[in-house]
């Protein structure tokens, strides 16, 4: 909307953004008109949602089928005791609305799966992967590519994490990991420990990357994956390219619609 201005309360709330050359009034208006879907409102989704809400992303979709358990509160900082045993998307919406009543929140209490992914992802500008299974990661990456939507990937394991951005045509999760690990080789995330602040770093970088994608500013973590080791306090960047023989985004793609991700990752067999 050319010539549109911000309200007085918005000028106060976003004052530190208005001072940034890369955002300013027009960038803030872009953020307010944007929509982001966060899939998984747990360890990674918590900081990603908090910082995207604080930044004034106008519509945030939160998708998660789970309810809040006590053991989540060791790292899932968007939740609190009053949300215990209630839907994660509900508790998170309440926290985010309290932080920024200026934005719209869509609570989607559902598992994102083969049946609903295309419809769901299709309604948002950017997708943030806050899930914790290979099945969901391949599903989101395929769906985002098929819809030509950018996907901000993050994952954590014990004391290590990684983050990268998949822009359609410049590589996808399959280019980085052509095959899922054999079932049982990497323990189910429910069994693995997590160092509390680790998802804070990875999820927050996912938020920053999302803001850059939405406002078209800076250099995204595209074609590079940032690897963090908390104990060594090391950060390493590994470059990767679109794989020309990738079955999804390669030169001769074989995947033109979503497949059965339970079968592909062996998640079904392992159950």
């Amino acid at each position: 909307m050319p010539g549109a201005t911000l309200r007085a309360d918005q000028r106060q709330r976003y004052a530190r953004h208005l001072a940034l050359a890369e955002i300013g009034v027009s960038g803030q208006q872009t953020l307010l008109r944007s929509s982001v879907l966060i899939v998984g409102v747990g360890a990674l989704g918590s900081p990603a949602a908090l910082y995207l809400a604080a930044a004034g992303v106008g519509t945030i979709g939160l998708a998660d089928h789970d309810s809040v358990r006590l053991s989540n509160l060791q790292r899932q900082v968007v939740h609190s005791m009053d949300g215990l045993n209630r839907a994660k998307v509900e508790g998170a919406s309440r926290t985010l609305h309290g932080l920024n009543p200026d934005i719209s929140l869509e609570a989607i209490e559902a598992t994102v799966d083969e049946r609903n992914a295309m419809d769901l992802l299709g309604r948002f500008d950017v997708i943030v992967d806050g899930t914790d299974s290979f099945r969901a990661r391949y599903l989101l990456s395929d769906a985002a590519y098929l819809l030509r939507k950018p996907l901000v990937h993050g994952s954590i394991f014990r004391v290590e994490g990684q983050v990268t951005v998949f822009v359609p045509g410049r590589g996808c999760y399959r280019c980085l990991y052509p095959q899922p690990p054999p079932p049982g080789v990497i323990e189910d995330s429910e069994e693995a420990g997590v160092f509390a602040p680790l998802p804070g770093i990875i999820g927050t970088i996912q938020a920053a990357e999302t803001i850059k994608l939405l406002t078209g500013t800076g250099e995204g973590l595209v074609n590079r994956v940032l690897l963090h080791d908390t104990m060594a306090m090391s950060f390493r960047e590994v470059r990767y390219r679109r794989n020309p023989s990738c079955p999804l985004c390669g030169d001769r793609p074989r995947i033109h619609s979503l497949v059965d991700y339970g079968a592909f990752t062996g998640a079904e067999a392992a159950r």
Binding site: L73, F195, T204, F235
Partner: protein, 266 residues
């Protein structure tokens, strides 16, 4: 055992274990400045199970804080930050012991701050306080986790007994007006989230005595370019506080040795 369930996913880490989790429960950490950095630091230390948190800040919540200070809500506008923060942290874990103090840290009370806590976290936005905390860490021998943020970027480092320290890298604070403030130049919330989370990791590693802290190394993050690195730095043999011939020697004589703006007196 309700508490066993709460920290289960952390207790099963080799680096933590049952004894590590108990060590965190007995620990006390001071967070100076409950703003952009202090928000994620406090949330993650509370979530991780640090038993006692001292929150120090003399400001009230303003609407312009809310683009990054994720501890607060709209309904907290005008309230003392430490009070609003304490309530939010108790909603996360009601068993936390929180000491909320609406006070400014000065040379006259900084020694007590370090004596009462196992680790101190710098979440302030003033150079004078950052250098005061650095000097107090060296003079008391207690660990300090430094952090600073501006626009899309930030840094963190850990000062431990014997140094190296912030003054090995920067002898004095920058001259007035050379570096803009967040108010003038802006700041993105996610930058404070990255630095604050790194600070929280450092605190936990020091309390647990695991991993490699950022001692003699500085973490630098440029969120706009997506660049993150850790650079080693040596102790400055002429450092005014952590070298063998220090000029800053005594917190009770701090005003004689350091100017109100943090410069070493010549």
């Amino acid at each position: 055992m309700i508490d066993a369930a709460r920290h289960h996913r952390q207790r099963i880490l080799d680096e933590v274990g049952e004894s590590g989790q108990q060590r965190l429960a007995r620990a006390s950490v001071a967070i100076v400045g409950i703003g952009g950095l202090g928000s994620p630091v406090a949330l993650y230390l509370a979530a991780a199970g640090v038993g006692r948190l001292g929150l120090f800040d003399d400001q009230r919540v303003e609407r312009s804080n809310l683009n990054r200070q994720i501890l607060f809500e709209d309904r907290d506008l005008g309230r003392p930050k430490v009070q609003a923060a304490a309530e939010r942290l108790r909603r996360l874990d009601p068993t936390l012991r929180i000491d909320a103090r609406s006070e400014t840290i000065r040379a006259s009370n900084v020694a007590g701050l370090f004596m009462e806590h196992d680790v101190v976290v710098d979440g302030t936005d003033s150079f004078e306080t950052k250098f005061l905390l650095n000097d107090a860490a060296i003079l008391t021998g207690k660990p300090l986790i430094h952090g600073a943020v501006l626009q899309w970027s930030g840094q963190a480092l850990t000062v431990m007994n014997g140094g190296p320290c912030l003054r090995c890298l920067f002898y004095d604070p920058p001259d007035a007006g050379v570096i803009q403030t967040c108010e003038e130049a802006g700041v993105i919330g996610a930058a404070t989230g990255v630095i604050g989370s790194v600070q929280a990791e450092e605190v936990l590693k020091i309390l647990l005595e695991v991993g490699e802290p950022l001692r003699g190394r500085i973490f630098q993050h440029d969120g706009l370019r997506g660049e993150t690195r850790v650079i080693a730095f040596p102790r400055d043999p002429k450092c005014p506080v952590c070298s063998r011939q220090p000029r800053i020697t005594d917190l009770s004589r701090y005003e004689e040795q350091v100017s109100p703006r943090g410069y070493v007196q010549r």
